[in-house]
């Protein structure tokens, strides 16, 4: 099975709690217990979410200190932005062509209708 980092990132981001954790980490690195505070969630539950985020490359956890600070890793999010941007360009162009084709096809139909 080929690895697909972007699909792992998207599936990690699909969960609102994980997005909230990222939004908190965007303000600066913090500990797991501090992260758990606003969520009304047990530490193991938060740790589970952090593992998913870490596997998706969205956060990193420090090894240097006992409290293993969590911080956001911007690179994975940049990958998301880049794909969204490229996919938009692809579709904008494609849908422009569809629009042109629909106009062309309908004007031909109209002309044909008049001739009858």
């Amino acid at each position: 099975m080929q690895t697909d980092p972007l699909s792992a990132t998207f599936s990690a981001l699909a969960d609102p709690t994980r997005r909230a954790i990222l939004a908190r980490l965007a303000l600066g690195e913090t500990s797991v217990s501090e992260l758990a505070e606003p969520f009304d969630m047990s530490l193991p539950a938060v740790s589970k979410h952090l593992k998913v985020l870490e596997r998706a490359g969205l956060i990193a956890r420090g090894r240097e200190a006992q409290w293993r600070p969590c911080r956001i890793e911007p690179r994975a999010l940049m990958g998301v932005d880049r794909w969204l941007e490229e996919y938009r360009q692809l579709w904008e162009a494609r849908l422009d062509r569809l629009d042109d084709y629909l106009r062309e096809f309908q004007s031909k139909e109209k002309k044909r209708g008049r001739k009858k």
């Binding site: 972007l6 998207f10 939004a23 569809l98």
Partner: protein, 167 residues
């Protein structure tokens, strides 16, 4: 930045001056897809289209120098003329999934949902999409929820049972 309420998803919306049935045909008929699907630098290298759940649209794009590139959709949900859910990917000429050449982290497979609405004589279109991994629980749940697909698997198992009995 990622906000709590932003579900990360690609969304594009358009309005076409055409009736919904015609827009639907443009999406589901290979002859019409040939007219708009591939970018201008390519020519159309032919396609097969099997519009049913589990069926495939498999198309070929030809570079000016004659090299061929393939892509495909696999249909997951079809509600004419309003809703089409499909997984798109780059492919080889036999329909096997390949890595897209655009850039290294381009997703292997993307789950796309197309919705068409009437807006007077016009048609509103909304396409949403996100990368998906075929191993994802999400996709499995989705596929298994389709009556056609579970029957399909059931059929396979029935055949297998028969083979085992015959064997």
């Amino acid at each position: 930045m990622v906000g709590k309420n932003d579900v990360p998803e690609f969304v594009i919306e358009r309005e076409f001056s055409a009736p919904r049935e015609l827009v639907w045909k443009c999406w589901t008929d290979a002859k019409r897809l040939a007219r708009w699907w591939v970018p201008g630098q390519f020519s159309w290298g032919g396609a097969t289209l099997d519009l049913r759940v589990g069926g495939m649209f498999h198309y070929c794009m030809r570079w000016p120098d004659g090299r061929d590139m393939w892509g495909k959709f696999v249909y997951h949900e079809i509600v004419a003329p309003e809703r089409l859910v499909f997984v798109s990917s780059s492919s080889d000429k036999d329909g096997g999934i390949t890595r897209a050449p655009w850039f290294a982290d381009w997703p292997l497979e993307v789950l796309n949902t197309l919705v068409l609405h009437d807006a007077g004589a016009k048609t509103k279109m909304r396409l949403s999409a996100h990368p998906i991994n075929a191993n994802d629980a999400e996709l499995k749940r989705f596929v298994m929820a389709q009556p056609g697909m579970s029957q399909g698997f059931g059929g396979v198992f029935k055949q297998l049972d028969q083979l085992l009995v015959d064997g």
